[in-house]
Amino acid sequence: MTQSSAFKQRIAEAIADDRLHRAVLSATVERDDLRRAEWARLTDVQGLRELARRIKDHTLDNLDRYLDQLITSFERLGIHVHFASTAEEARAATIDIAREHDCLHIVKSKSMLTEEIHLNEALEQAGLEVIETDLGEYLLQLDDDRPSHITCPAVHKDVAACAQTFTEKLGTPYTEDPPTLVKIARKALRDAFREADMAITGANFAVAESGTIVLIMNEGNGRFCVHHPRVHVAMMGIEKIVPTLNDLSVMLKLLARSATAQRMNIDTHLITGPKRDDDPDGPEHMHVIIVDAGRSAILAGRYREVLRCIRCGACLNACPVYRTVGGHAYGGTYPGPIGKLIAGLLSNYDHGVELPAASSLCGACLDACPVKIDIPRMLLNMRADAIGRSWENRAKSRLLRRAMWAMRSPLRYEWGQRLIRTLMRMKAGRDGWLRRGFGPGRDWTAAQRDMKAPARRSFRDLWKKGEIR
């Protein structure tokens, strides 16, 4: 099966799943509405977005310098720094750290990067126990499922599905009452925290001047992760740097509002080094793994701006395609508009080359993006990259080339118009509509819609006859 037919199959499955569609549509529409309302409350949201864009662009343009500064800051604080140029190196570094400190029980807070590099599977294969402690991620782990949203990983599940998982996997009595479900999870997770000797987190930001790792979350899990276990491993992509704490404040202001329409998240941790002598708690050892895994290649090319992404998920909530198919249909770690970009870019088009075409280029993502990534423009560029890479694309390009060749002459345009009109009006019913299209029109009418036949006379015919007044 080609990548593109596999993608179409996933789409078909998603669309056939009514429960999924309802859960995703209502959650995303609600979040998008809340975000817009929260943005509107800011005095100058456009100015703030522009500032955030500039901070990120400046950092990316000088990334080598800020990486050096960050590493120096980390080392000054006694944080061990590891650099992984590939996913494999990142996984190996994590396992090595666990071995070095004799750790066996790992708790994790939510991190898309660790999903991207498939860390959990590697840890388990190395004989380590790993438990996700974000409620949504925990649920997915119990279910052997994957996140389908960047900031709301279990958005594809409704309450009934969650309830069922708990009953099946934990043996607790069936209930659809959210507070009771949370209580069940909390009890299970408390045990995990007590036993854990190592915590793995991501990093929402890393501040170059101070060596601060910033973790943002809304459940208490993060606090337990970074306070109790002996060892803390934070994994970050190279693009997570902001130069100063001042810059950070701009980002925080936008991230919470864009992700969850909060002015501030419940938990915003600024972690600056391991436990100091007079600290009551905290990890004795702190490691940071800085991961490249395809990012520096993006930095070097014409898609640099996608590295501005702060993974807020706002573009997913705003996207009509995401609202329709949910996250799993995209087939990779990152779904939605930003996922359409980075799936192909991070893998150098090993996969995801078919994704950019699955967009109406409506621009809702650009309107929603706090750092103003011009996603539609990037999709266009990637469509140019995709030309000739699959038979589906070759067929489409051939068709378009022919049509555009015809359009290069007004005479051919008019004759083409006449031909299409005659053919379509022949096939149309008496009401001027086709229930079944032909040629590429077959796909149009396959999707529960009829196709209009051209008007009896075109505008230009009417104009030439002097009937336009």
């Binding site: 179409k8 109406s360 266009l380 555009m404 290069r408 209009k452």
Partner: protein, 250 residues
């Protein structure tokens, strides 16, 4: 004011009545309207699918065709934006075609933006004649370069005397997207299905929608469902109110 009409392929072929309405309203407002028949397509289908070399000559052709018009007005914001937003970048800075296309871009508007931003038209002459019961508004995504969803609603309110309410999720894409509708018919179909549900829920009998592509998509889904809802362009509504429209079904 001398205006060149850029009709666009879809309006030319499928909705000549919209083109006629655009001309009638502009003339009513004192514009001199010209329709150069050497115009063809803006190249958007090629451009949107990465075929820049195929789009380039078409954009260049339009730049020549409309070289002498004071303004160029199109019923469609999408095709106008193809020229205004994307056209210039197809040509290297400083080149002659680039100069022409930059110049065209600065004179290019969709009908409704032209009415509001350039003519600053006073709606009083047609307000009383409007036949709009139960009308709702759908915002077409590709008008973004000209107008934000929020401003588009204010604009329609002013032009049509507050007689139109925005659909629920009025600024969510209807699923057209050009080739996308044929390449990913399942997604596109599910998106227009959602649009139709919002229309059904609104109880509207008339939908204002300025893009020919979106209109074909929405009408197609309405027709398949057998729903008796009319989709119209702002220009048609105004022309009807002024008694200047061609008969329905032209």
């Amino acid at each position: 004011m001398r205006v060149g009409l850029f009709i666009t392929c879809l309006t030319d072929t499928y909705y000549p009545r919209v083109g006629a309405a655009v001309v009638a309203v502009l003339r009513h407002l004192g514009c001199e309207v010209r329709f150069p028949t050497e115009q063809t397509c803006c190249g958007q289908p090629a451009f949107n699918n990465g075929l820049l070399d195929e789009a380039r000559p078409l954009v260049a052709n339009l730049a020549g065709v409309f070289r002498d018009d004071e303004y160029v007005v199109s019923p469609s914001a999408s095709c106008a934006a193809m020229i205004g937003e994307h056209g210039p970048e197809l040509f290297s800075a400083g080149s002659e075609p680039r100069r022409l296309i930059d110049d065209l871009a600065s004179r290019m508007f969709d009908f409704t933006s032209f009415l509001c931003n350039v003519l600053k038209a006073d709606p009083a002459p047609w307000i009383d004649g409007l036949k709009l019961d139960n009308a709702a508004f759908h915002y077409s995504c590709h008008s973004r370069p000209f107008v934000s969803p929020e401003t588009a609603v204010e604009r329609i309110d002013r032009l049509l005397g507050g007689r139109v309410t925005p659909l629920e999720r009025f600024d969510q894409c209807c699923g057209f997207g050009g080739m996308f509708a044929m390449e990913y018919p399942q997604i596109s179909g599910a998106m227009v299905e959602d649009k139709v549900q919002c229309i059904e829920a609104s109880g509207a009998k008339t939908i204002i929608c300025d893009e020919a592509g979106c209109r074909m998509n929405i009408e197609g889904a309405l027709h398949r469902k057998g729903m008796d809802v009319r989709v119209v362009h702002t220009a048609e509504v105004i022309a009807e109110a002024l008694g200047l429209s061609l008969p329905e079904g032209t």
